[in-house]
């Protein structure tokens, strides 16, 4: 009976992991296709739609009739001061596929903007900013992770293979970096630079900083695996046959670490995404004209505004969805969770 319960748990874990990978694939594809999916230009300000609520695409109109083509009701300002909007039921705006270089957009360009996730304080399209920002946020995190992995593997292999002083020094440094509060360090480093720097430069700096803070966990694990593998007969034999250290490391020792490196990469991602988000949230990341998820949250961080416009928190939902999917994807059927 315990066996069947464990087997059921295994299926559940496998399903959850697959679902996680699927969500990640969808979000990754959306980030790649950003400009195509965006319903408007992410920096255009629609003065008539400041803090407009989301415009839901419909199939059923106000009278209860079904339509084959999805449509939206345009928004009309009712009260400019209180920012109240009403749907204009007289003029439904039909949506079409591949209109003016967008995947989905209103067929009639003059019918006003379609804002699927509402607009922010400056009347900018929340959905457009979200999908365009995805590329920047996920890009920083992905490149930073790859950097941390490369650095961690290099240092870990060197420490595990060379041993002695190199090993000792590398591991002390790793332990030191490991206890550092990531945000404090990034914040201090960011403070040395001018308040506004070009997005491309910021991208580079942020990835370098996050890679420099992320490598220790990888290095420690790789070092342990390499040190263990170096004592195995095949490694000793390779060395005895005169293989160069580089060959021994690359062909005989490093392959044993790939599984570990893969899981570590997945586990580093959430931290990197959050670091970008927090930094931009603090106003030290990407500028409003180069939106990232953190920038979106920075724009939203006004309780008075959020109270009436909770859709500004869409970026928070996106971050949580990605992190949750990553956590699902990195689930393993942990043998220690198994009662036996």
């Amino acid at each position: 009976m315990a066996g069947s319960a464990a087997a059921a748990g295994g299926h559940l874990v496998n399903g959850a992991r697959r679902a996680g990978f699927m969500v990640l694939a969808v979000i990754g594809a959306a980030a790649l296709a950003g400009p195509l999916l965006a319903t408007n230009d992410p920096v255009t300000q629609f003065r008539e739609h400041i803090l407009a609520p989301p415009m839901v695409p419909r199939l059923v109109d106000a009278e209860g009739r079904w339509h084959l083509r999805p449509f939206v009701y345009p928004l009309r300002v009712v009260d400019r001061l209180e920012r109240r909007f009403a749907e204009d039921h007289e003029r439904p705006v039909p949506l079409g596929l591949f209109v003016r270089g967008r995947l989905v957009a209103p067929l009639d360009a003059k019918a006003g903007p379609w804002l699927p996730l509402g607009a922010d304080r400056l009347g900018r399209d929340g959905w457009a900013r979200l999908v365009v920002g995805a590329r920047r946020s996920l890009g920083v995190a992905l490149v930073a992770c790859l950097g941390a992995l490369v650095l961690g593997v290099a240092i870990g292999v060197a420490a595990g293979y060379a041993g002695g002083v190199v090993d000792l020094a590398a591991m002390r440094v790793a332990e030191f970096v490991l206890v550092l509060p990531m945000l404090y360090v990034v914040l201090a480093a960011r403070a040395t630079l001018p308040p506004t720097i070009p997005p491309s430069m910021l991208f580079t700096l942020m990835t370098v900083a996050l890679a420099l803070l992320g490598w220790p966990v990888v290095a420690r694990g790789v070092r342990a695996i390499v040190a263990r593998e170096a004592l195995q007969e095949f490694a000793v034999a390779a060395r005895a046959m005169g293989a160069s250290p580089a060959r021994v490391v690359w062909h005989h020792l490093a392959p044993a670490t790939w599984g570990f490196v893969r899981t570590q990469g997945l586990q580093l991602l959430p931290g990197a995404i959050l670091a970008e988000t927090t930094l931009s949230f603090a106003g030290l990341g990407f500028a409003p004209d180069a939106p990232s998820w953190g920038t979106l949250l920075y724009d939203a961080a006004d309780i008075g505004v959020l109270h009436d416009a909770p859709w500004l928190l869409a970026a928070a939902g996106a971050v949580i969805a990605v992190v949750f999917a990553i956590n699902l994807a990195s689930l393993s059927i942990d043998p220690r969770r198994d009662p036996r």
């Binding site: 315990a2 319960a5 945000l183 040395t192 959020l306 992190v323």
Partner: protein, 323 residues
């Protein structure tokens, strides 16, 4: 033990010196300084030059770092450029606030994590373990920054907690009891935001430690002897995991500090993180150095505390123990 503590004290001093020197260097090398604002207000070049000399901003960075260390050794941490108050007083108040937040969050996290980890790790409650596992997975995906943002919105919309800050306006004149209740009310959102994700992390660690312990001989023996479930869980299973768990909690100090910074920014909690953020932004050199020193001291102290608690909990770690 004493040798260990002395070594840790040396480490603490080294870390504090390194962190604060780094802060002096960072704020000094950064473009602009505190006088930039004065220039914008229309001060002339002569006034600015005199102000810079008064604040010591005309001297090379190395000399400023040396000065800072020399003065700090005499417990003189300087005066904040911006607030005009002694750095020591400013940093202590703010650090106390941060410590209150971090301490409450950790307490909440431990209260949740230890029993839950025990339940899911022991293998005795498979159904409950599944629920705990799913919950901790969900909580693990909710970073403090976003939880704080969302809870604040919920709090403002429903009014069950204040939107931010540490006390209500005019609370200084209230009776002590009312002030404490007011404080607890303000603590609610930041502590939940910081504590819940931490609880999930700690639950994972506790669960793994307990699960590993289930195969130990004494655990099997106690179980075979028919010891009651509660006693078996706490005495046989949990007790041996407590010491390594305490050292791991010590290592979470960095996470706690980073998380606390994010939460302080959202909920306007007047803590160390926000003070450092402001100090860096306004190029307030002494204040930034003081904040760096306080953060480093917190880090070193917390990790040491973890090890000391581990040593106190587990006699096997003490010198002279045979095992």
């Amino acid at each position: 033990m004493w040798r260990f503590l002395v070594a840790r004290a040396c480490f603490l001093i080294a870390l504090v010196v390194a962190a604060s020197s780094a802060m002096v260097a960072v704020t000094s090398l950064a473009p602009g300084d505190v006088t930039t604002e004065r220039r914008l207000e229309g001060a002339n070049a002569d006034q600015l030059a005199r102000e810079r000399i008064r604040l010591g901003l005309d001297r090379p960075v190395t000399a400023r770092i040396a000065d800072w260390i020399g003065n700090a050794a005499r417990l003189d941490f300087g005066t904040s450029f911006r607030y005009g108050q002694p750095v020591l007083a400013l940093v202590t108040t703010r650090a106390t606030n941060s410590l209150m937040l971090a301490g409450s969050a950790l307490a909440l996290a431990l209260l949740i994590a230890v029993p839950c980890g025990l339940i899911s790790g022991s293998g005795r409650f498979p159904r409950l373990a599944g629920v705990v596992g799913a919950l901790s997975l969900a909580l693990l995906s909710l970073p403090p920054l976003l939880v704080a943002l969302m809870l604040t919105v919920v709090a403002v919309r429903t009014g069950w907690a204040p939107a931010g800050g540490m006390q209500s306006a005019g609370a200084d004149e209230w009776a002590l009891g009312d002030r404490l209740i007011d404080l607890a009310h303000h603590l609610l959102v930041p502590v939940l935001a910081l504590g819940l994700p931490l609880a999930a992390t700690l639950e994972r660690l506790q669960q793994a430690a307990v699960a590993e312990g289930t195969t130990a001989r004494h655990v099997l023996a106690t179980s075979a002897r028919g010891v009651g479930l509660g006693r078996w869980l706490w005495r046989a299973l949990w007790r041996p995991t407590a010491a390594p768990f305490a050292s791991v909690v010590g290592l979470a100090a960095g996470t706690l500090l980073s998380g606390s910074l994010a939460v302080e920014l959202v909920t306007a909690w007047p803590g160390l993180g926000r003070l450092m953020f402001e100090a860096l932004a306004t190029r307030d050199v002494p204040l930034a150095a003081g904040c760096g020193a306080a953060a480093a001291a917190f880090l070193a102290f917390w990790t040491t505390l973890g090890d000391v608690v581990a040593w106190w909990l587990d006699p096997r770690l003490r010198p002279g123990a045979t095992s």
